[in-house]
Symmetry: C2
Subunit: 187 residues, 2 copies
């Protein structure tokens, strides 16, 4: 927690968010996505469960906001399709490699398969802002950008699930080559 | 259940397996992966929980065997790299689109991120036999085949998680084009 002063009574909201997100990622790291219950996250954060539930109605909703915070805005260059794609793959790979982030992501999107409300959050709050930026900077149609996101994120998460480790630098480069070759051949 | 006779006392093992696998997929479909507990699967199958636990020590182990059964052997042609890759993508997509199979797959591999024992099962019992066949028929090196599997399975599962539906025929064709172009450019 930062030591900055606040004129509000109690702790400022951004401060609570940061504390809860960090606790969520630590809990997922230690216990896995399924084991990181709202109870455990609240205890890890040292924040009352009622406070957490006032802010996020479910674990899925909390993890989606936690991912949005951990990913942050996509940095985009204007170096043309290939440079943009290479930068984006590297950026996504680095984020998924952050401790707890990949496991939280894999967990929430697997829950979303059977949970339409969570899927809406993932799609509209998390994925769509990136999709829109990527469409704007690349000029690619929506279906093409969605396939790019599936290819990159899906591959990185599948590798994480199968090996327990983020993809190596060499394999990230191979992934980038395949995706760029595919985008180039089809656009 | 099939009506065939058996000389064994009680039900033959293959019969129990088929009943439990079908119950597992129905449970995952109805309740999601997290909700499909061993209790629910046993009740759905009408088989004693102790019988199921004698055969599979954990839900993850059961789901891995269920996936092995649902996928079955990979049919391979000898039409060269591109034909093999196209056939494999279509075959994997059709399997992941089977009711319950995609959700079970996404669930077990997300659990595997934080469970080394489950990861071993997934990798050695489920993925490796396919990897070996693909290496033999394509002549591609191991790292290349692993990337192919991550790309195809990861993309299909990510799409399923984000949309709640299997990938459309048109998008499967786009995925195939990208993967084939990528393999071609790099091999």
């Amino acid at each position: 927690m930062s030591g900055h002063d606040s004129v509000q009574l109690g702790r400022p909201r951004a401060d609570i968010d940061a504390t809860v997100f960090a606790a969520a990622l630590r809990s997922v790291r230690a216990l896995g996505y399924a084991g990181a219950t709202m109870d455990r996250i609240a205890a890890e954060a040292g924040i009352a469960k009622s406070t957490i539930y006032r802010r996020w109605p479910s674990k899925g909703a909390l993890i989606v906001d936690c991912l949005i915070d951990a990913f942050g805005p996509l940095p985009v260059s204007d170096g043309g399709l290939e440079v943009i794609a290479r930068d984006a793959v590297r950026w996504i790979a680095a984020r998924i490699a952050q401790p707890g982030v990949g496991a939280a992501f894999a967990g929430v999107f697997s829950d979303a398969v059977s949970d339409p409300a969570l899927r809406d959050l993932l799609l509209n709050r998390f994925q769509d802002p990136y999709r829109i930026v990527l469409q704007n900077v690349t000029g690619l149609p929506e279906q093409r950008v969605l396939l790019f996101v599936d290819l990159v994120v899906g591959t990185l998460l599948h590798r994480l699930g199968m090996t327990g480790r983020p993809m190596t630098e060499v394999d990230v480069r191979s992934l980038t080559d395949v995706v760029v070759a595919g985008l180039r051949s089809a656009s």
